[in-house]
Symmetry: D2
Subunit: 479 residues, 4 copies
């Protein structure tokens, strides 16, 4: 999981990319990078760490130019190599090219091997480099970015929101199933694309709409243009973006994430009402759900676990045998709110179950009598291959356990996950248009060793497309 941004704005790109990436920081804290183009030269800077640590004022002022792209990276096992930090920057003919990617391909090995047969070498272990190679290869064949993106979409399989800068032009495209979020904004003197709308808000810019699945967006100093490259029979928006990954104040595919979570909170009560003295959340992931629960149940919302706000990436964890202390250092229970109380504890999801177990233990030590755990997602039964860094089936506590077995493991008094039906209704998108792979084990595209109900994709003929025009939304782009 990562966050990406691209912008062309007459007032300069770098500080705007900085603020946008900062707004997307929750999508990746491992590294950050920005590339800009000033009409003549590519400028670039990237490093390990948070946006605010990687960039300094002199660095930003060296990143000259009105066009640029940026990336924040989520830590993923085995990929933490300096050369993998994005955007990747290349030379191709006379052009400087930068590419950044959010998502995950599932046919990487096969694509990579094809290039290697042809004698090509790789400098990173990223999917992004494969995407870049395909694009450059096809651009050199067809001479058209549109055709190249079409061939690329036909070759690669997986989730991908990609932003690419060639010279001063930003190209952005989203996979035909629209798995990862991607949206378009109007800035004061230009346009931008970003993983989530909060990056657009951060610039006081205007959210225009989402990038359509299978669409290619082109931004230059003249304006913005959308071209539909592929049209899916059904979409496959990631359900976990709503549940956990996206910021609560983002609007994804037309839906405010916060309200999805609040509605789920209300549903959690409706689906299995419980009597309790107070509702509390695991901060911050469970808070919107808990507030919804309190609203729906009329049980007062009382903060009973205080989160230390200064937890940095350099924080020293205690030794293995003292692990349970770590939770206490991050989350301090308030005995006065727990002693002899029956409490509803709300969180967004349970993955391995270890953290939930430790939190419940902490609350019991602080005197809680009953702990009714309520979870804002159905039980996670299967891994994700499409960009969410989830563990294997073996590590997923619910992959082969019933809800009550999980309850027993985490030592809760009761445990309820929201139903998939309620979740889908809360999101408000047709169930067929959502990827529920991690909940059902059935994926929207072919993955080796897994069940899939693949969605058909129509690739649009370039000539035909030229006639259409209608794919270029007349309205939002006609300012």
């Amino acid at each position: 999981m990562c966050g990406i941004v691209g912008i062309v704005d007459a007032g300069g790109a770098s500080i705007k990319l900085y603020y946008s990436l900062y707004a997307l920081q929750h999508r990746g804290q491992e590294s950050a990078g920005i590339s800009t183009f000033d009409g003549t030269n590519l400028h670039k800077f990237k490093g390990a760490g948070l946006v605010a640590d990687v960039f300094s004022p002199p660095v930003l002022s060296d990143l000259k130019g009105d066009a640029g792209i940026g990336h924040v990276r989520y830590p993923t096992t085995g990929a933490n190599l300096p050369e993998n930090i994005q955007p990747l920057n290349f030379q191709f003919r006379e052009h400087s090219i930068s590419v950044a990617h959010n998502g995950n391909l599932v046919n990487t090995a096969e694509l990579r091997s094809g290039f290697e047969q042809a004698g090509q070498i790789f400098t990173t272990t990223t999917d992004t480099e494969i995407i870049a190679k395909i694009l450059m290869d096809e651009i050199s064949t067809f001479g058209s970015v549109e055709e190249a993106v079409k061939v690329c979409m036909q070759k690669i399989r997986g989730s991908y929101s990609v932003v690419m800068m060639i010279g001063g032009i930003i190209y952005a495209f989203r996979d035909p199933l629209g798995i990862k979020p991607f949206c378009i904004g109007k800035t004061e003197r230009g346009y931008m694309v970003a993983s989530e709308s909060v990056a657009i808000d951060a610039l006081n810019a205007k959210l225009l709409r989402d990038v359509h699945p299978g669409e290619l967006i082109r931004i230059d100093s003249e304006g913005v243009k959308g071209t539909r490259i592929a049209v899916p029979g059904k979409r496959a928006h990631c359900i976990f973006e709503y549940v956990y990954f996206a910021r609560a104040d983002s609007i994804i595919d037309g839906v405010l994430v916060y309200d999805v979570r609040r509605r789920i909170g209300q549903d959690l009560f409706k689906e299995d009402p419980v009597k309790a003295d107070s509702v509390c959340s695991v901060p911050d992931s469970g808070t919107a759900y808990a507030i919804g629960y309190a609203e729906g149940s009329k049980i007062p919302f009382v903060e009973s676990l205080m989160k230390n706000r200064y937890m940095g990436r350099t924080f020293i964890m205690p030794s293995q045998k003292e692990r349970e202390k770590a939770v206490r250092i991050k989350l301090n229970p308030i005995p006065a709110h727990l002693k002899d109380k029956s409490v509803v504890l709300v969180d967004d999801s349970i993955v391995r179950g270890t953290t939930s177990k430790r939190i419940i233990e902490l609350m019991r030590e602080a005197g809680a009598r009953e702990i009714h755990m309520r979870i804002g997602s159905p039980a996670i039964k299967a891994p994700c291959y499409l960009g969410v860094d989830m563990p294997t089936r073996e590590e997923l506590i619910a992959s082969n356990r019933e809800e009550d077995e999980v309850r027993h493991k985490i030592t809760a008094t009761t445990l309820r996950h929201v139903s998939l039906d309620s979740l889908v209704e809360a999101i408000g998108i047709d169930r067929e248009d959502l990827c529920t792979g991690c909940l059902t084990g059935c994926y929207p595209l072919a993955i080796e060793g897994e069940r899939a109900k693949t969605h058909e994709i129509d690739f649009i003929d370039a000539t035909y497309q030229a006639k259409l025009g209608s794919f270029e939304e007349p309205d939002p782009f006609s300012f």
Copy 2:
């Protein structure tokens, strides 16, 4: 404002000091330091930045020994010098001495000048160095730490919680008025003192009680001992610790801070009921108040300003003319929760008024119809000389303005501060035992150019004290 800790624990001090300081990080983000003693040598490390940035695992493992003290420092104008980072470390005869201090003296100039007349030199601009010099001077005269602390308390005027390590013994004392918080805890294999109880919680240790005003605590590997050096007629606990400074989950002088704030939230509604669609807070300072308000008013609590959790100290602020953007980057309003709504906005206090004004503007841009601002403290009328870094009267928006003038300035629909009576009642400590200098302009000790209602202090005769014994709480210290 700063945070201090001292510990003697047979399992080693440094990692425990690290976690404790981390729990006190809200009391100071400018610098952090730890000194330990291993029976033979003093070990010390300090640096600018957050606890998690200053200390690394090798540094902590070099800080050997079972005894140690730590400090986090709040940024204060003009004092950001490397040599001022605490604990201060000295050599005195064959002893290594470390001292750390939370508070502020008001007769510094006079004390300093006395030493300089006698040819002494200063290496820092801290009050802490003055305190250390007085103590060493008197110890060399009397040979007794108790006597030295007594003379010191007679000489210095102001707020001070001090922790000092001489060899492997920790001495801790709190000013006779008990202005700054200071408490004692029982760790697994030793004892500790800390500015707030959350530092004790972080070690899964047990809060014993507060350090009494005017009391000297001594911790060594044998145990803990309390000696009453001075007894005030009335105390003067800082009211602002409850309102703003302390962590909500701390228990100060017997009172859980969170509940003080929640009660105030309820009072804010009771004192002037208003009709509105929702209650929201300025996160995180106003949240406990807002939850209390929602409880009291039955108006739903809805988060409408989302805080970016990654704001680091190195974050680059936009240029002066783009300042209003900064608020937006930190706090993103959710239009869906604000558009055409009447909203109660709750915060803990208004100092200069500039931030409140910008937040209200943001909410109006997002479409809010009415914004009823409610403040968890009475209007701040006067500066603080006793350790809270507050601006001058000129900069305090309320120092010479009525509530309605302030409301007009910050463009709120309505504005109410909680009454001093309600605040005192919510805290539950006698009004005479609280310092309300910033609210009333009347201070508990003599400050040049200000009104004061000074509290009398009895210094206890050493002989008499020896007889007493009762000052050494028989119960908690008799493990």
Copy 3:
């Protein structure tokens, strides 16, 4: 100009590469890098700065494995980009590949463009990446490194000593003209190649011989093998390595550099005897020459310019208008050795002439009466395209000036360069086997816009080569 090393030694590679690179530090101070292979994984580390600054003990111990290559890089205008730091590391099929290069290609643009036509992208601006791409391309066609290197040698034009690691095998090859130095050594438990013999000395290893022009060396854990890929009609060893670039204690193509310089010093006196009180050098570049001059002339060698030994890369130079001070800070004249004296001042070469002029001025200020400048190389008339970072003709003081005009410019009493004949004789290699491009403007290979007397190269047929065997020196490789 750069320095390269490759090694396979059963005792581990990294610390040996570290010492070897350190011995080659004079060949490049801008950056340093090491890649190693442990049988399974590639380990790599590189950074800007000196070898001793880039590598730390933990870094070296993470560079596991018995095989490895290293590189130090000379600062070259416009190429100071982090991604250009060598060795370059690639993924090719299942292999990890590292490549490092000393030299300069003259048909880069053409080669690069060929790849780009085919849709390939570049991640650096180095010749090294081009060489790597050609090699991988050909290896994937022929399946043989020997064939690939042959095709590569046929395609690329310029100077190149290349070391490449594929899995745990080190391949090293030198261009068919042998422009840059490259030699082979026997370590305690393996073999190595390095730019200069001092890198072999540093490991207390044994210099076996030079890599032949056009030869490919292969080192693995079994031993070393040489294969002749190409044989030149004439060689073209860089004359400037002897004059300036190489360390005085290196043996290049059989010749001890120090003695070349000492003999030139003697010749400088013989070619134009002068009477003087003392001989001094510009330290350290002129010292071996000056000692030779003193021997030849019987004029005493007296150090009269003392060099500050602590000049680091971070040294702050004075502002432009105070430039002359900079020389004084680096070189302090000793008035007692100069006042009213006639002095022979010896240096290796004059490039722009500005430093010589400033030094002579310093000596005059210190009272020198006569300054007879003697130069260990003929006048530099033309630029170098083959790896020595020399300025353009416009900046070369002697490119269009007679010796006496140069003398006048630099304000010397007299000035003499050694003759090309003496220089060639001192080196002891046939004049036809040396590259004298910078002295004559006539180069050993085609360079656009320059005169060339190109050397023919025979590429050896692989079948024929297999029969030969004799190219694999029976003696040195038969341990």
Copy 4:
């Protein structure tokens, strides 16, 4: 051993201090510091490492003001603490004070204890802090710096060249025996003092004269003034400054160090002529001696050990069992100059003998037939208590061994030290005016457990001094 500088120059102090300290870098590589005063504020910066690493352009431009002092520190066992980095900076009354010191006191413990009895605390373990405390104490008593320095000189015993800045005035004084060097220079728009004349040369300033033993120099924006505080019967200039410590191009107490060393080289041949093929030195310490030897003997000087010029403080030394490699990495022998040769090897001194032994072994491995070692100082028999960091008697190879035993230990063919008579004559200062403690075991001042022939010192009466005037050299100070 350390290096110090003080300056008042109308053109700004910091860059000049930087260049001066850089010229004194050989006197200390462990840390560097500068303090300046701009008429109102003290500015200061110091850190571990070389001058060129500690200071950057922005740091230097923040060090505002025309007056300033600087210090470079030599690593000394046990004193490598951040707080010990000089200059030390203090507050005393309204004044900012900075002090830096070169030398070593022998009655530290006693002085320190006196202060501690009086309740004073120490923040460093330096002699410098003791000197500062005495001075401030006395200034507060007498109100006169002259009187304070007189009392200070009466109290402290040892070697000390001290530079102190009070407000914008620089005070500098040298101990009454003149043990450590100290000299005065005229800069373009001001005056300076420095440990060695090379620091004056570095600014293109003019060496005026040495600071007299027992003299106090005062520099302000008006000019310079010298006051004689104490006059010794005999002086005790450190003999080791001439032999080893000072830079060869420095002039100390009127004598050019280089020529002392060259003369000793000549004497080494005269005292015991030997036949050999060549003379070489241990670079760089033995070079001036070797050149003198070659001149005296007519045996050619041939460099046979090449020094790696990039040895930084961060260089990683090989493991203990590979120690001998370390010498080879620093010093590479040239076999072509050594094989079957009889060689004179010249160095300045032998301390522990381990390095000499390893070098001789290296030369033998390279084929040397005979190695005649010649040493520019008499055998070192006793430790130094006065500022040269020398080992104990146990570690000194010659402390209880005859010359031939030492020769045997280091495996030289022959070994000769220069005689003390020749050394004294080469220096040209009366033997009674030199400290030869390390050679004779007899010191010029009382040291516990050692023999001493103490020199009497007259402290000059202030009234008398006022009449004198003659102590203020009329000539050099009357520009």
